[in-house]
Amino acid sequence: MAESLLSVGIDVGTTTTQLVVSRITVENRASGFCVPEMDITNREILYESEVAFTPLVGENLVDGGKIAEFVEEEYRKAGIKPTEVDTGAVIVTGETSRKENAAAVLQSLAGLAGEFVVATAGPDLESILAAKGAGAVAYSQRTGKNVLHMDIGGGTSNLCYIRDGEIAATGCLNVGGRLVKVEDGRISYVSTVVESLWAAGASPRPTGRMEVGEGAEVRKLEALADVLVQGLEMAAGLREKTPLWDALWTQECGEYGERIATPVCGLARNDVDFRQGRMEVGDRWVVSFSGGVADCIREDFDSFAFGDMGPILGRAIRKSRLCRGEYMLGEHTIRATVIGAGCHSAQLSGSTVFCRDVALPLKNLTVAAVPEDEQTDAGSIARRLAAADSGKAVLALPGYAGAGYAQVAQLADAVLEGFGDREILVCIEQDLAKALGQMLFLRSGKPCLCIDRVRLPAGSYLDVGVPVGPCFPVVVKTLILNG
C-alpha cells in the first residue's frame, strides 16, 4: 500500500540557485495485526536542475522575476506542473536571506511552486536540511558516529552537530567563498562581513584591507581565508575563541527547540573534544563538509576559477586543524541544501490522527507551546494562544505517555476552554491525537484538527498538507518571512 508524494526543493543561495524534484514513498511499516505506522521509506531524486548563478540586480537585490522564470523553465524540463506538487520547500539561504527583497521573492515563488511548497528561510533549518541532504545524518545513524557537519556556501557556513543520528545543535557563521568576488583579476565585491572583521577589532586581523577595483592578490586573500577558517576551528572547539568569533557569528541563528539547548559554539566546548595543542579530530566525532567550497577542499582549482575566493578558502580548510583528523565530503556537496529542501523538509505525523471540517493545506501556523505541567490549565492555554500573534495558531502539547481516558478527557476540557472561539488546531507529542481529537469534536462539534508524534519547538511554525493515507505531511519551520 505504498503512497507517494511529489516533492520540490528550491534553494536560492548567495551564489547559486538550484531546484530538485523528488518522489517520497510513504508506506505502512507495522504488521497487519497492529495499528498502522506510516513512514517515509524512500526518497528518489527524479530531476536535478543545473546549478545556476543567483540572478542579482546590482549587488544586493535578488531578481525575483528571473528566479520565477528559472523555476518555470525547470518545471518544463522536468515535465511537472505546479498543481502536481505535493510538498517541498522554497528556501532563501545564506547572506541572500538578509537582503531586502528576499521575502517578496519567497512569496512569489511559493505561489508558483505548488500549493503545498513551503516558503521558508532561516539558518537553523538550513543547517539541518544541508546536513540531511549531504547524507551526514544518515551516516551518523548508520555508523553510530557523531558528526560535525559544515555546509560552506557563498556567504555563510551552516553548522550542524549530529549525535548518534540525532540533530544535537545547529549554528551559522559568516564564512563563505563569495565574501570577496573577483572579475578580470580585479576585486569586484567585498562583503560587509570582511569590513566588520576590521570594525570589530577581530584578532588576528586579515593583513591588508581590500578595496573594490584593486588588483586581486592571492596572498592577501589567503590571509583573509586563514582568518575565516579560524572561525570554523573555533566552532569546532579546536581554537580558543577571540572577538573574531563574535564578528563571524550569525545573529539570527537561534535555538532549534530545547533539544538543541546550545548552539554549536557552546556545545563544542562541553561535549566535543576540546584539546588545545592536540589537534586530533575524529576520535570522538567526524568532520563532514558540503556546500560549494567543499568541492575545493580535496581538489585544487585555479585560485579565481569561479570568480571568487572559494578555491583559496577550500585550500585553507584543507590545511586547517579541521582536516588533521578524519574528515569527509558529503554524498552531495554543492547540492546538499537543495536536496535537503526537496527530500527532507517534510515529515509525517502519527498515523492515528483526527481531522474534521478543517480545510487543508494549512500554512504558517504559529506555534503556541504549552509546557507539560500547564497542559490542563485552560487559562495558560488561552494566554499562549493569544500571545502567538496574528493569524492561526496551533497548540503544541507534550501530552502524557500511556495516558488513561480520564486524563485525556481532562486535557480535552482544558483545550476546549483555552481555544474559546478559535479554530481548534492541536499538535501533541505523545500518541493520543485520535482519541483526543474525537473527544474535542464530540464535546464542541466544531472543526478540529488534532495530530501527534510531531515535536514543535517554541517559536517555530507549522504547515500541514493534505493527508497521505492515514497521516499528514507536515513541515516544521523555524523562521518565515512574510511578503
Binding site: G404, Y405, D431
Partner: protein, 331 residues
C-alpha cells in the same frame, strides 16, 4: 545463599555493567576472592511453609517489594525486574563496546548478555526467571469479583470452572452454559450493531490495565458515527471465540472482543482486540480483524480505542472483517 550475599552479588554484577570502565581491569583479572567463607554461610530462613495461590496471584508488580508475608523482609534485595533490559549490557571483550550498547538500546531483546563458561551469567538467569514468573502470575491472577460491577459491565463466565480448566480446555472457554446465556439474553440489547466483549483471556493484568480506557475511546469514536453502544459484557475465562457465542445469542452485526494476550517476557500487560463481522459459532478464524500490542509501551489503550472505532466503521461499511478486509484494502 542468604540475602546479603545475593545483594552483594547483584551489586557486583551491576557494577560490572558500567560501560565506561577501564579496559585494563578486564585484561588482567586477578584471581577473585570468594565472597563468602564457608564458615559464614547461613541458610536462608524458610519464608512460609505454604503460600496461598490466590495471594501470589494478586498485584504482580508490587509483589516483590510490598507483600511482607511473602518475602519476609522487603526492600533489601535489588529488584532485578526493574532494570531496563535495553541498558542491561553484560558483554565482555566486545570490539566496539559502546557501539554494541547503542544498538542494544533499540531493543528489549536479551542481547549482549555475555556468558559464564557455557552458561548464562547469574543476573541474566535471575532476570529471566523473574520475568517468567511475572508472566505466569499474569495468567493465574484473577480479575477481581467486583470489577464488572464497578465498570457497569454485565458479568458472565464461560463453561470453564477455574483457571486450570481454562488452560487445559480451550473449547470450554468459547461457550456458555444455559444460565450464563440467559444472563446475556436478559441484560444485553438484542440485535445491536456493535457488541463489545471484555475478556480476561491469558492475562488478567492486561485486561485490567487497558480494557476500560480502550472501551471509552471506542464508545466516543462510534458515537461520532451515530452508533450508540449498549451495555458491554465481561467474560471470565474468556477465549476469543466466546465472542462468536455472544453473536449467536445477541445477533449483533459486529462483535469486538478485548482480551488479554498470552504474555511474552517483555510485558505482561498487552491486550488484543478481535473484531468479527456477523459473528456466529464456527466462524472462520480468518474472518477476524486483529489489533494487537495494546499497552503503555505499544499502542496506548485510549489511542487504540479510537483506531478500533474507525476499523469497526470500515468493517460495517464493507460488510467484511479479517483477511477479506485487508485484501480489499490492498486492491
Amino acid at each position: 545463599m542468604n540475602k546479603q550475599e545475593l545483594s552483594a552479588m547483584v551489586a557486583e554484577i551491576l557494577q560490572g555493567m558500567n560501560i565506561g570502565q577501564v579496559q585494563a581491569e578486564e585484561q588482567c583479572s586477578p584471581l577473585q576472592e570468594p565472597m563468602v567463607k564457608g564458615s559464614d554461610y547461613k541458610p536462608t530462613k524458610p519464608v512460609r511453609d505454604k503460600i496461598d495461590r490466590e495471594r501470589i496471584a494478586t498485584p504482580v508488580c508490587g509483589l516483590a517489594r510490598n507483600d511482607e508475608k511473602f518475602l519476609g523482609d522487603p526492600g533489601e534485595v535489588e529488584d532485578i525486574s526493574a532494570l531496563d533490559l535495553r541498558k542491561l549490557y553484560l558483554q565482555e571483550n566486545a570490539q566496539d563496546k559502546e557501539g554494541f550498547a547503542r544498538l542494544k538500546m533499540k531493543t528489549p531483546a536479551r542481547l549482549a548478555s555475555g556468558r559464564a563458561g557455557a552458561r548464562y551469567k547469574t543476573l541474566t538467569m535471575l532476570r529471566f526467571r523473574a520475568d517468567h514468573a511475572a508472566a505466569q502470575d499474569a495468567v493465574f491472577f484473577q480479575v477481581p469479583e467486583d470489577y464488572p460491577r464497578k465498570h457497569g459491565l454485565v458479568a458472565v463466565q464461560t463453561r470453564c470452572r477455574d483457571k486450570d480448566e481454562y488452560l487445559t480446555r480451550p473449547d470450554l472457554g468459547r461457550c456458555f452454559d444455559g444460565e450464563n446465556e440467559e444472563i446475556i439474553r436478559q441484560n444485553l440489547p438484542q440485535k445491536p450493531v456493535v457488541q463489545i466483549v471484555v475478556g480476561d483471556g491469558l492475562s488478567s493484568a492486561a485486561c485490567q490495565a487497558n480494557a476500560m480506557d480502550c472501551l471509552a475511546a471506542i464508545r466516543d469514536g462510534l458515537k461520532l458515527k451515530g452508533i450508540e453502544l449498549g451495555k458491554s459484557l465481561f467474560v471470565r475465562y474468556c477465549r476469543v471465540g466466546a465472542g462468536d457465542a455472544v453473536g449467536d445469542i445477541t445477533g449483533c452485526k459486529v462483535v469486538c472482543v478485548l482480551v488479554g494476550e498470552r504474555q511474552g517476557l517483555v510485558t505482561d500487560k498487552s491486550m488484543s482486540c478481535y473484531i468479527t463481522y456477523e459473528p456466529h459459532t464456527g466462524v472462520s478464524e480468518s474472518a477476524r480483524t486483529v489489533v494487537s500490542n495494546i499497552h503503555a509501551q505499544g499502542t496506548p489503550a485510549v489511542e487504540a480505542g479510537a483506531h478500533i472505532a474507525g476499523l469497526i466503521q470500515t468493517i460495517l461499511k464493507r460488510k467484511v472483517s479479517g483477511v477479506g478486509l485487508h485484501l480489499e484494502e490492498a486492491l
